[in-house]
């Protein structure tokens, strides 16, 4: 076995204090990037969570809609137009909008209503842990998420409150349907949602279209687009992308997350580069000796890059453990940090790239060594 890995390992562990500084730099950088990327993924998932769970093949949305929470209205006539298109099996209205929740103690808090057609294939609450989503058909029934118990001053199934001036009762409790805007989602029946949001009975925010078995979704969409020029017909993917783009880039939230991640990478690269450079300087005599005894440049590069890779693996291992702890800690918060296996793989790759890039300054330093310096030291 080649001595290069042993030499790299020994160089790295020879000065424990410097190794600790290097690892702290990498860990700091990677944890920062993990949190930023985790927030980004979480944010992206949250802004499209309703679209993901709607189960529609196509969405009819008001022209110019930027995101799911953009409350413009469509006329019921569009629904009938849609139903007249060959290949359309159903077009279910969905009503969304803001309203005020009056708590039992008399206070109010803003909520985001989602009015679902309890008879058809609309957007129904999921992850129901208490009660039943079908109970939304009962007049005044609502479904709320248990993460908003405090905000809504509600603690259990059957609790009463008011939306606007109308009495409501909690008939279903969900787990994990949280809004990134921190405004609680409240599910209600379609007609009650219209009442709570002041939407006319002939209006809806969206129509959720399901195509007939065997029909080609894209062909159906094209036919609908031709027939419904005042609306937009989007696939769930298109609507998801549009919503994500609006919240992530239209609002600058994504740019902030990216900037944080980039900052983490830069800080990490600089710290690792600085420590590797300083380690190389300390071992300059040894590298000069290697050069003097005829080592090729590639052998020396290998030693330095192996040092960088070893630092990367140690730093990444610790950073990943911290990142997973952050994931667990934030799991029940309004914006949990999400780490996926793909993200972990990307982070490992980023760590390796960062450490190898950091090694360049050390390599440049070493390649400028005059091997004859060994005679004078």
């Amino acid at each position: 076995m080649s001595l290069a890995p042993k030499l790299a390992f020994r160089n790295l562990f020879h000065d424990r204090l410097r190794l600790i500084a290097t690892v702290i730099g990498i860990v700091f950088s990677i944890v920062l990037v993990t949190v930023q990327m985790g927030l980004y993924v979480s944010f992206e998932r949250m802004v499209t969570v309703m679209i993901d769970h709607a189960g529609a093949d196509l969405w009819i949305v008001p022209r110019g809609t930027k995101c799911f929470e953009d409350p413009s209205l469509l006329d019921e006539r569009e629904r009938f137009r849609a139903l007249s298109v060959a290949g359309v099996a159903s077009a279910t209205p969905l009503v969304i909008g803001f309203a005020q929740w009056r708590t039992p103690s008399g206070g109010t808090t803003p909520i985001f209503i989602i009015g679902t057609d309890t008879r058809g294939g609309g957007l129904k609450p999921w992850n129901v842990v208490e009660g039943d989503a079908a109970a939304l058909a009962v007049p005044g029934a609502v479904a709320i998420d248990r993460s908003y118990f405090d905000r809504l001053e509600t603690t259990r199934l059957g609790d009463h409150a008011e939306i606007g001036d109308q009495k409501v009762q909690v008939q279903a409790i969900t787990n994990g349907i949280r809004s990134f805007t921190t405004t609680p989602y409240v599910f209600a029946s379609l007609d009650r949602a219209r009442a709570y949001t002041g939407t006319a009975a002939t209006k809806a925010s969206y129509f959720l279209v399901n195509v007939a078995p065997g029909a080609d979704t894209i062909q159906v969409r094209e036919r609908m687009r031709a027939l419904m020029p005042d609306t937009e017909v989007l696939t769930p993917d298109e609507f998801r992308r549009r919503s994500a783009n609006f919240w992530l880039f239209g609002t600058g939230a994504g740019a902030a997350l990216f900037a944080g991640a980039l900052l983490g990478l830069i800080v990490g690269t600089v710290i690792v580069a600085q420590t590797l450079y300083s380690s190389t300087k300390d071992h300059l005599n040894e590298f000069a000796t290697l050069r003097a005894i005829g080592s090729a440049g590639s052998y020396i590069h290998k030693v330095i890059i192996l040092q960088a890779l070893m630092s990367a693996v140690i730093g990444f291992g610790i950073a990943a453990a911290i990142g997973l702890a952050v994931v667990r800690t934030t799991a029940d918060t309004a914006l949990p940090v999400v780490v996926t296996p793909t993200m972990l793989a990307i982070l490992l790759l980023l760590t390796v790239v960062m450490c190898v890039l950091s090694a360049i300054s050390a390599i440049v330093k070493v390649m400028r060594i005059d091997p004859a310096m060994v005679f004078t030291r």
Binding site: R10, A288, T289, L290, A296, G297, F375
Partner: protein, 243 residues
């Protein structure tokens, strides 16, 4: 007559730039033959180390030629010079330059490792080289656990393990007491008995003169003396080779 292992012809070397530019060598011609131990002696600043550097392919002369086993170094790029060094030259330094984090055995193996030899066979070669310098019992010791003389012997083992044609030693006894210095020179003179290998020792140390087959004196970048010694005359085999 055998071909010299290293040969410099009319080597001129300038060092530094501008006002600091000095001529370190002024047309030096020197051939190191296999089977002899040559001492290169001269005062500080005489050009000994510069000559050692160009003979050892660490530098190329400003003019003139250097040939290592017939390969000219003129115009060679750093990687080519490195290849010539690892294939033909072994170095012994005044300050040993061992790797403090590696054992004696690994320090010796390193000279083979940089040549891409890292098999079990390489380990045996390194062990044999340590045996040649009488240090096989300490092959697992780290440099800090060895005396100066022992460290220098490890450095010699590293220089010979790759079967280099030329061993170039820079003041190998300067940091040692007379007993250890004597031991080191005994090892080097034993190595020089190999007809395929020439040993050049740069030194100020008059105590090691008795080990030399030949003494070359240099001053102000010019060779001012080149003489055979009594040691050489006691070794007819080498004289025959020289003749």
């Amino acid at each position: 007559m055998t071909e010299p292992v290293i040969e410099a012809t009319d080597a001129v070397m300038f060092l530094g730039d501008g006002a600091a530019r000095v001529q370190a060598l002024r047309g030096v011609s020197l051939a190191i033959a296999g089977g002899e131990l040559t001492l290169l002696m001269g005062p500080s600043g005489s050009g000994k180390t510069t000559l050692l550097s160009i003979l050892g392919c660490m530098l190329t002369p400003s003019s003139g030629t250097v040939r290592v086993r017939g390969h000219a170094t003129a115009g060679a790029r750093p990687e080519e010079l490195a290849r010539l060094r690892r294939e033909h030259v072994g170095f012994v330094f005044q300050s040993y330059h061992l790797f403090p984090t590696l054992t004696a055995l690994d320090n010796v193996r390193l000279a083979l490792d940089v040549r891409g030899e890292n098999s079990r066979q390489a380990k045996h070669k390194a062990r044999d080289a340590l045996a040649t310098v009488g240090l096989v019992a300490k092959m697992k010791s780290y440099p800090r656990e060895l005396s100066g003389g022992e460290q220098q012997r490890v450095a010699i083992a590293r220089a010979i393990v790759g079967n280099a044609s030329a061993i170039l030693a820079d003041e190998p006894t300067a940091a040692l007491d007379s007993e250890n210095g004597h031991a080191i020179m005994t090892v080097l003179s034993e190595i020089a008995k190999d007809r395929g290998r020439g040993v050049l020792v740069v030194t100020h140390d008059p105590r090691i003169v008795p080990f030399a087959d030949r003494i070359v004196r240099i001053e102000d970048g010019i060779i001012i003396g080149d003489e055979r010694t009594a040691a050489a005359s006691r070794q007819p085999a080498r004289q025959v080779q020289e003749a």
